[in-house]
Assembly symmetry: C2
Homo-oligomer: 363 residues x 2
């Protein structure tokens, strides 16, 4: 199924005259408003991944040596083996940053995504889904090379998700994919820590941060995963000190980063980064600046079905509120609400349009 | 992703010695117990389809001329157009009969499926999912020709689903795909009315019914859809009189078939078919034989999210109960329970293993 962005999606970018602009070998249609000042709220750079979700019991995780709640990288052969053994599944676009960008678009924000897929079935699914929800996705797909990335997610009866990622085409994301105009046009450039795994993405990451800062924009980072933190601790700390304005992390990730308890970790991180949002599951989140600490409760959920995407959607709500000029407390409240929507069903993209969900919660 | 049945799935077919048996060009591993008497509870023949589900509003249905709640056939070009315009989607194996067979397997029944996919991405998804849930799926995939079938399903805010099916590879299902041993080995052969749409499937349908009856087995049919009933009314009536032992239909389908009210339709159908299960949404179902009428209430659901698959899963619960020798009332109760599970979430394959769901409802 070909899923090139439909005119209907492009039209969301405004009613002004459209011009054809050549990017590499690909012609895409862009509204000329995109080319002027601060037109996007958030642009994300991340691994473009399709999730394949199934229920599993703990013995399945043990059998394949998976660590519950974490993300590990697997090769194509392992991906085949685990897929063949896992239960009946559901496919849905994912990727930590992709989920956040989709969430911001669903809230009504103007969002863009940079990430690498192949021009294959899953790649077309990823492109369809992120553009259909209203985000801009200019990165051309690869025509050759590894397949589009997939994440085999096993959801256990306690609603926890354990992730096995075959990065595939994401390995080809590099600095040449970072569109300087796009980055400069966004209030916030949002980067996922998982980007440190593919070989060239780190360079893309640093290039984007430089462009954003030179344009007077903010750079946000999510630590992504405790194992990811352990893989890249020194680099993360250096990046945070020099390049990061807003940090997202959950309790496990932030304590892994500083190899200490939560309070000590928070005390350390607020010296490095101007604005930190640390999520604590059912205990809500803590927003910290140099001189302010705000406790935000978790939003109520009738039944937690699948925690996949909870942190990603918290970031979506927070960044939407932040870029709309809301208070930090209100941004945190929006983050909690979006996380509540996502954990109440299977999968990490919103089922209810988030602008409607937030409006219903306010009513 | 290659999703050939894993050894783990084959192993569910028993602990007896396994022999390699050549079916066409394909070697599959089958337990020799399958080759003896009545080893399967139910074998289904149906269109092998992957569902692509998204939320939509009524204006979207109007824009594409869709009739809410129905199923229509579309060609590949229409499939591309609708997909490009529809929202962020979720992919999950579907097909009316495929859903029923998956449900029976999930209940712990021994189930098989005959249907045609291509050896492409969606075809491998379909094969993975139906075998992963424990069903037997011996039909070899096509290597050339049209792509695996997909159904673009738009779910409106009233939880109704409107379906647009591109039949693709299903058009190649023919009598040569009906494995006589497999049909003869099943207590019930279950056929979906939608099989009248692909050109050669009708012949497969009649061949399977003949084999089943010669082996002393039962033949079940679901009317599938009111539009389908209108397309094939005369043929359905002839088939029911001559070949069908158990009929599944909802209120709209059965009244469409006889072009009359529900009570009159029920009076007519019980003269044609020995056992009828007619579903009535929130009003439960009516089970009718020549001399008995049983009212079965609907099972409670906290929130109806998506009615896709409700009828398919009712048939799964009913046929599982029936082939386990339960009373008709108990079979109907199992049907209601399975339908309740499926409408409480997005998609038409069970999220909770149905044997656990049924056990929890009994507790």
């Amino acid at each position: 199924m070909d899923a090139a962005p439909a005119p209907g999606n492009v039209a969301r970018w405004g009613g002004l005259p459209i011009l054809r602009r050549k990017i590499g070998r690909f012609k895409i249609r862009m509204d000329i408003r995109d080319m002027t000042a601060a037109q996007l709220d958030v642009v994300g750079i991340g691994n473009a991944i399709v999730d394949i979700l199934a229920h599993a019991d703990e013995s399945f995780l043990d059998r394949f040596g998976m660590s519950k709640g974490g993300m590990r990288l697997i090769d194509e052969t392992q991906a085949e083996e685990i897929y063949a053994a896992m239960g009946s599944a559901v496919e849905a676009s994912g990727g930590s940053c992709g989920n956040t960008i989709a969430g911001i678009a669903s809230l009504g924000g103007k969002a863009g995504f940079i990430g690498k897929v192949k021009n294959d079935g899953l790649g077309r699914v990823f492109r369809h889904d992120i553009t259909a929800i209203g985000a801009h996705f200019p990165t051309p797909p690869d025509e050759t090379g590894p397949a589009t990335a997939r994440c085999l997610i096993l959801v256990t009866s306690d609603a926890q998700r354990t992730m096995n990622t075959f990065l595939g085409a994401c390995g080809n994301l590099g600095p040449e994919d970072v569109d300087a105009d796009l980055i400069a046009s966004a209030q916030v450039t949002y980067l996922e820590g998982y980007l440190f795994d593919p070989p060239h993405a780190k360079a893309a990451f640093r290039k984007a941060a430089d462009i954003a800062h030179k344009a007077g924009r903010k750079v946000a980072l999510t630590l992504s995963d405790a194992f990811c933190v352990n893989r890249y601790r020194a680099e993360f700390l250096e990046l945070m000190r020099d390049h990061v304005d807003i940090l997202f992390a959950n309790e496990v990730e932030i304590t892994a980063l500083f190899e200490t308890g939560f309070d000590e970790a928070l005390a350390s991180v607020r010296k490095l980064v101007p604005l930190v949002a640390a999520t604590r599951g059912a205990h809500g989140s803590v927003i910290a600046t140099a001189d302010e600490t705000i406790q935000v409760p978790a939003a109520p959920v009738a039944k937690i079905v699948d925690t996949t995407g909870a942190g990603d959607l918290y970031a979506a709500g927070f960044l939407y509120g932040y870029t709309q000029g809301k208070s930090l407390a209100e941004a945190g409240r929006l983050g909690s609400l979006c996380a509540a929507e996502i954990i109440s069903h299977f999968g990490a993209r919103p089922e209810t349009p988030l602008n409607e969900y937030v409006a219903a919660a306010a009513a």
